[in-house]
C-alpha cells in the first residue's frame, strides 16, 4: 500500500474494540480484602446454579487501557461544547456544568429510592418544587415526573386520556376503547403514533395545509365520525410553525368529545410566552432533556414529565408527591390512576438538573431564553432564504425547515449537504424529518449560539450551495475531514452484526 503523508496507522484514530484490546491477566480494579469469614463456595451456591463460563470474552484491561480507550473514541464525537448542533426538534442547547455538579451532590447521588420518606425530605422537595414550576410554565396543574423520556410521557398521557374516557364513557367488549381513534397530524414525530398504539388506539392521520398548519377542515371531517378519542398535536409543530388556530383546534376536539394531547418537544419556543393550558390543551409531556437542557448523553437519559388539567389529575401515575404541612410524602392512594409507568419516581437526576436550570434562569431568564432561541432561528431563516428552498412562508418559531429542492436538480441532496456541513465544523441539522417535507432540513440553533457562529453557519450553508453548483463531487463525497467516510447503512442492515465475537467464533459464523 502506498504510504500517504497522512499516516494511516495513527494509533488514536484506529482504536480497536475493547474486546480486541483485552489481554488475559490485565486488571483495572482492586477490591478491599474480604473481611468476613468465607463460606465454602458450594455451600454458598450449588454448582449447578453458578456460572461456568468464567465470563469468557469480557474484557481484561488495566485502568490506563480503559481511560485511553474511552478517551480516544470520545474524540470521534461531535458535541455541544465543540460547537453548534442544530438538530431540529432536538433542542441541543448548552448543558450547564453547574447542573451536573448539583446532580452529583452526595446527598442526592447516594440516596436510595426506598429510603424512608422522612429521611429523604430534600429529594421529595426537589420533586415537589419542580412539579410546581412545570405546572406554572405549562398552565396545567397536575404533574407527574415519572416518565423517563418524551415517548414515555406520550404513552403516559395517552393512557390517561384512555383512562379518563373509559371512566366517562365505559369500555367496549374485550377492554376496547369506546372511542377508537387517535388523530395525529402527518407531520408528527414517529413516537406519537407508536405511543397511541400502546394504548389500543387506531391512528388516523390529519393532513397539513400548504401553509404547514393542521388542516381544520380535515380535522372537522375526521371528528365527524364520532369515534375520536383525541388529538396529538405538536405546537409549534414539527416544521417550526405555531398552530395559530390552536384554540379552535382544541374546541373542535372537545366538541367531538375527545381530549387534546400536546407533544411538548417544542415547548422551548413557548416558555414564558404562552401556556398550553391556556390554549385548551388537556395533557402535555415535556422533554426535560430538550427544553430544560438536561444533557442528551448520546441518547439519554431523558425525562418526560406529564402535565395535565385538574380534570385529568386523578389519572396521573402513582405515587404522587404531595405536601402536608412542612412534610413531603408519596401518595399511592389514587384509585383512578393509570398506575405506575416506571419503578421508583422517574429519572430523579434529571429532575435535579431541570430544577437547577429553572432556578438559574429565573422567570426573566426563562423568557429571555425563549426569545433568544426564536430570534436565532429567525436569523437563520432570513439568512438562508435566498439560497435554499423554504417550503413554508410563515416566519418560524424556534426552528426552520428548508429543502434540497434547488440543489437536488444538480444531484446534491439533503444528505449530502448535511455531510458536507461536517467539514465546516458543524453538526448537521435534522434531515428528512418531518416526513411531509421532501428533503427536509430542519434547523434549530437554540439560544446557545452567538451571532458570529450563526453567521458562520449561514456562510457555510451558502458555500455548500455554491459547491453544489460548481463542484458537486466535493459535496457528494463529504465528509472529508472525519476518520471514516459515509457508511453503507443498507449493507449493515441486510447482514446485521450486532455484537463482537471472538475471531474464531465470528469466522465460523
Amino acid at each position: 500500500m502506498k504510504s500517504t503523508p497522512k499516516a494511516t496507522p495513527h494509533v488514536t484514530q484506529n482504536e480497536a474494540l475493547i474486546f480486541e484490546r483485552s489481554h488475559p491477566g490485565r486488571r483495572g480494579y482492586m477490591l478491599p480484602a474480604l473481611d468476613v469469614d468465607e463460606t465454602p463456595l458450594d455451600e454458598l451456591l450449588p454448582a449447578e446454579l453458578r456460572r461456568d463460563d468464567d465470563l469468557e470474552g469480557m474484557p481484561e484491561l488495566s485502568e490506563v487501557d480503559a481511560v485511553r480507550h474511552f478517551t480516544r473514541i470520545s474524540t470521534w464525537n461531535y458535541h455541544i461544547d465543540l460547537g453548534m448542533y442544530p438538530l431540529g426538534s432536538c433542542t441541543m442547547k448548552y448543558n450547564s456544568r453547574l447542573n451536573e455538579r448539583v446532580a452529583r451532590i452526595p446527598g442526592f447521588a447516594n440516596l436510595h429510592p426506598l429510603a424512608p420518606e422522612e429521611d429523604a425530605q430534600g429529594a421529595l422537595e426537589v420533586i415537589y418544587e419542580l412539579q410546581q414550576h412545570l405546572a406554572e410554565i405549562t398552565g396545567l396543574p397536575g404533574v407527574s415526573l415519572q416518565p423517563a423520556a418524551g415517548a414515555h410521557g406520550e404513552m403516559t398521557g395517552i393512557m390517561m386520556i384512555r383512562a379518563f374516557l373509559d371512566a366517562r364513557d365505559g369500555v367496549s367488549e374485550g377492554n376496547r376503547p369506546r372511542r377508537k381513534v387517535m388523530l395525529i397530524p402527518d407531520s408528527a414525530h414517529g413516537t406519537n403514533p407508536a405511543s397511541a398504539n400502546l394504548s389500543g388506539y387506531t391512528v388516523k392521520t390529519v393532513r397539513s395545509t400548504p401553509e404547514g398548519l393542521t388542516d381544520l377542515d380535515a380535522l372537522r371531517e375526521l371528528c365527524a365520525g364520532g369515534d375520536v378519542a383525541g388529538l396529538m398535536l405538536t405546537n409549534p409543530n414539527t416544521v417550526g410553525i405555531f398552530e395559530r388556530n390552536i384554540k379552535e383546534i382544541c374546541r373542535i376536539i372537545h366538541d367531538a368529545g375527545g381530549l387534546v394531547y400536546m407533544d411538548g418537544a417544542n415547548m422551548n419556543a413557548l416558555v414564558g410566552i404562552a401556556r398550553p393550558g391556556d390554549m385548551g390543551v388537556d395533557v402535555i409531556h415535556l422533554n426535560l432533556h430538550k427544553t430544560f437542557s438536561t444533557p442528551h448523553g448520546g441518547g439519554g437519559p431523558g425525562s418526560g414529565p406529564c402535565c395535565c388539567t385538574k380534570e385529568l389529575e386523578p389519572f396521573l401515575p402513582v405515587p404522587r408527591v404531595v405536601r402536608e404541612g412542612e412534610l413531603f410524602r408519596f401518595n399511592y392512594d389514587e384509585p383512578r390512576s393509570i398506575g405506575r409507568v416506571k419503578a421508583f419516581y422517574g429519572n430523579f437526576g434529571m429532575h435535579l438538573r431541570a430544577l437547577a436550570y429553572i432556578l438559574t434562569h429565573g422567570h426573566d431568564g426563562l423568557r429571555e431564553a425563549t426569545e433568544a432561541a426564536v430570534l436565532n432561528a429567525r436569523y437563520i431563516a432570513q439568512g438562508l432564504a435566498d439560497t435554499f428552498d423554504k417550503p413554508f412562508d410563515s416566519p418560524p418559531m424556534h426552528e426552520v425547515v428548508f429543502t434540497d429542492k434547488r440543489q437536488s436538480r444538480k444531484g446534491v441532496h439533503t444528505l449530502d449537504i448535511a455531510k458536507r456541513l461536517i467539514d465546516y465544523g458543524f453538526h448537521p441539522m435534522t434531515i428528512y424529518f418531518p416526513l411531509i417535507v421532501q428533503g427536509a432540513m430542519l434547523i434549530e440553533p437554540t439560544e446557545s449560539v452567538g451571532r458570529q457562529e450563526l453567521q458562520q453557519f449561514i456562510d457555510a450553508m451558502k458555500s455548500i450551495a455554491r459547491e453544489a453548483l460548481e463542484e458537486p463531487d466535493t459535496v457528494l463525497n463529504a465528509p472529508h475531514t472525519t476518520r471514516i467516510g459515509r457508511l453503507d447503512e443498507a449493507a449493515a442492515a441486510r447482514k446485521p452484526v450486532l455484537r463482537w465475537k471472538p475471531a474464531a467464533e465470528a469466522s465460523a459464523a
Partner: protein, 447 residues
Amino acid sequence: MRYIPNSPDERQEMLKAVGLGSMEELFDSIPQDALLRRPLNTPAALSEIELLARFEALAAQNTAARRPSFLGAGAYSHYAPTIIDHLISRSEFFTAYTPYQPEVSQGTLQAIFEFQTMVCQLTGLEVANASMYDASTSVAEAVLMAERVTRRKRVLVSGALHPEFLHVTETYVKNAGIDLLRADFDQKSGRTVLEGSAALDQTLAAIVVQSPNFFGCVEDLQRLADAAHAVGALLIVAVAESMSFGLLRSPGACGADIVVAEGQSFGVPLSFGGPYVGLFATRDKYARQLPGRLVGVAADREGRRGFVLTLATREQHIRREKATSNICTNEGLIALAATIYLTTMGRRGVQETATHCAQKAAYAARRISELEGYTLPFSAPRFNEFVVRAPVEANGMLRRLAEEHNITGGLALSRYYPERPNDFLVCVTETNRRSEIDALVAGLKEV
C-alpha cells in the same frame, strides 16, 4: 442570562436585521388571547453561589444518604470506580445527541456496540439492544415482545417478581389485550411454583420470572425454561441485581428467551431511583422483534470499519404505530457508564465483586439468624439479599434502628406485602464493611 451568548444589544441588532421592532413581534403568530401577559410565577434567578447553597441545604435533609444502609430491592449500592464519572463527564459523551450522524458519532456508536456485546456476554444471549429506560419498563416491553413473537395473549408472572416491575407491566399491558396471570411462590423455599398452574397451556405467551427474585432467592431457571418451552411459551427472566451475573449461571445458559435486567449495579449512582438503565437481550431469531435501538457494524467506501444505528425499520420513526416500541431517547450515557464499569472491573472484577457480595450476605444472614427471635423464612439459595423475620413489626423496628443506631437496616416488606408485617429484606454488597454488618446485628439485637 449568562448561558445566552448574544448580549441584549446584539439581540436588538439581530431583531433589526430580521426586520422586527421588538421581541414581542417574534411571537406574532401566537394569537393574542393565547399569550401569557405576565411574568411566570417562578423564582427570580439565583447565582451559582446561591443555587449551590440551596441544593446543598436540600441534600443535607436526605439523611438516609449518609447512613450505612442495607437497602436493595432493585437499587444497589456498589462501588463505582472513579474513572467512570470522569469519562462520562467528557462533553464528547454527555453533550452529544443520539448518534444519527455516524461520521461524527463513532465514539458513542462504538461504545454502544461494546455495551450490546457485554450484555450478551453477561446474559448468555445472542443479541442485545442499545438500552431501555430501566428494568421495570424492560419487563413490560419483554411481555409485549413475547406477544409479538408468539401471537399469544396470556402471560404468567411470578409472584416473586419485584412488585414495582409488576405494577409497571400491568400499566403497559392493560390496553394491549394481554392477560397477566400470577404464579405463586413457595412459602418455604421462596421460589416460584408452577406446579399445577392452570395457565400452563398452548395459549401462554410467556412466563416471567425474576432471579434472584424479589426475596433474594435464586430461581431454578432451567426448570422454568423447560416448562415454558413445553407449551411453546417464552421464558422471560428479569434480573434486578445485575451483579449476580458475576456468580450465577446465565439465564441464557438456562434456556431463557428474553433476559431483561437493571444495569444500575454497574457503577450507576442510586440517585433516588434514576436515571438507571435497562438491559434487554434475546436470541438472534427474535432480533427483529426487539424494542429500541440497535448498533451494528458497517463499512465505509474504503472498507474501514464503523458503526451505525441499524434495523431502524423496527422503530417508531419509520414504522410509526407499527413499531416494535415507542422508545426513542433511551439511557445512552448510563449504558456508557455501565460499559466503562464492566471494562474497568472486567472479567475478573465482576466475578470477584459478585463473590464478595454473596460472601458478605452469607455472613450477615448467618449472624442474624443466630439472633434470638430472628428467623430467615426462605430456604432457597441466595445471592446477596434475603428476607428476615423479626420478632416485632418490622417498620417500627427499622425506624428505631435508623434513629438509635444510624443504620438503614433494610426494607420492610409490608410496603408491598401487608400480610408480612414482621418481614424485611436485607441486602449486602461489597461496600458494606464487616463492621457495618456487625453493627446491624448488634442493633437488631437491641431494638
